[in-house]
């Protein structure tokens, strides 16, 4: 869908408490244009709960239910049950960060998926607990600095898409803010499918990733170009790649060096200064290579 056909209605209002250059703000605006006004959000503790701003004001033009970290998906199940009783078709959406999705909320999320609750779970992944001051999460990549991994994280992130696939969801997708048309299409598609859906949006964070705030979209596009993040959809267990990721998978374009992505972010600066850490840079590249090797075999 060309940009001019996207809704003019703004359901995320200007003047919020988000940092300048926030990736989540872009994700929210695009997703809300696809979801429309007949939507209820459930937001656990995460950056978005801060972005809403404080009582008696909110920057959201739709109803938002703020809930404890671990309870977001359970809350969505309850909202859906209540709406069904009232005979309403309103979209129920959980908007949660990667900490609430990968770590703290995964138990209730697994439960809601197993109950086949008709809702859309959107995880905006900034690869750390940004809201509380940049701590390591299950989504933080290998080698990244956070305040709790100050020498660089030693482990790799977990594969949330594979966890979602294990629940046999009708629709799973990944997206990123640098490709607004693609993100809009995926949210719209998820909206049209009944049952539990999962979308993960890579959402770069200027204070957490340590890059200049004007480069949020550039960083997002670079994640795709280097192959660090892949644009994919899983429908009924079939994985399909789209956009630039499809071209990379089919070998039509060569991915940019992963080092470009690493060196652009201050959170990986210790891999380059004061001495180049050849071993860890190589290990990071291997992790990405292995991921694409699996993708070529039709796996995650």
């Amino acid at each position: 869908m060309p940009l001019r056909d996207l809704s003019k209605e703004e359901l995320y209002l200007p003047g919020s408490a988000a940092c300048a250059g926030c990736g989540d703000g872009i994700a929210l605006r695009i997703a809300l244009k696809a979801l429309g006004k007949d939507t209820i959000f459930t937001v656990p503790a995460c950056c978005t709960s801060v972005i809403e701003s404080s009582y008696p004001n909110t920057s959201f033009g739709i109803p938002v239910m703020n809930i404890a970290f671990a309870a977001s998906a359970a809350c969505a199940s309850g909202i859906r049950a209540g709406l069904r009783r009232q005979g309403k078709e309103t979209q129920v959406v959980v908007w949660a960060g990667d900490g609430a999705t990968y770590d703290i909320g995964v138990a209730s999320l697994s439960g809601a998926w197993e109950r086949e609750t008709d809702f859309l779970y959107i995880c905006y992944n900034n690869q750390m607990y940004s809201n509380t001051g940049i701590q390591r999460s299950g989504a933080t990549p290998f080698g990244a600095w956070t305040t709790t991994t100050w020498k660089g994280k030693e482990e790799s992130e977990k594969d949330m898409i594979a966890i979602a696939m294990a629940h046999h969801l009708p629709y799973i997708a990944t997206a990123t803010i640098g490709y607004p048309e693609d993100l809009h299409r995926k949210v719209q598609k998820a909206k049209s499918i009944p049952g539990p859906k999962y979308i993960e949006i890579l959402s770069p964070c200027p204070p957490g990733w340590r890059y200049d705030m004007s480069k949020t979209v550039e960083m997002s596009k670079l994640s795709i170009a280097t192959g660090v993040w892949a644009l994919l959809e899983v429908e009924e267990g079939n994985i399909t790649f789209n956009g630039r990721s499809k071209a990379i998978l089919e070998g039509k374009i060569k991915p940019k060096p992963v080092e470009d992505w690493l060196s652009g972010q201050g959170r990986f600066a210790h891999l380059f200064k004061p001495k180049r850490d050849e071993e860890r840079i190589k290990k990071f590249e291997e992790i990405i290579d292995q991921k694409w090797q699996r993708h070529r075999e039709g796996k995650l």
């Binding site: 703004e10 209002l13 008696p56 979209v217």
Partner: protein
């Protein structure tokens, strides 16, 4: 039905404050160069770029936080960032 007492926030522009005062650099739009592709409009994290009826855009300096994403992403470089006085 029993009435439920809870705190309900209402949607307003500038729920935090007039965030334009956070800015150190402000975007300047050259309307002659603008091709109305709307990339700046969709990629503004704060919705501070208004889209008019004729698909031209206008920057709302009352709420623009001055991140510079619009200037960085404009394909024809119609937006540049200048220091606030």
């Amino acid at each position: 039905m029993r009435e439920i007492f809870t705190t309900i926030s209402r949607p307003v522009k500038g729920a935090t404050e007039k965030t334009g005062q956070w800015r150190t650099f402000k975007p300047l739009l050259d309307k002659k160069k603008c091709t109305r592709c709307l990339r700046c409009w969709i990629l503004c994290p704060d919705g501070a770029i208004q889209r008019n009826e004729d698909e031209s855009v206008e920057i709302n300096l009352e709420y623009c936080k001055g991140c510079g994403i619009c200037a960085n992403e404009c394909p024809v470089k119609a937006i540049r960032m200048v220091r606030e006085e």
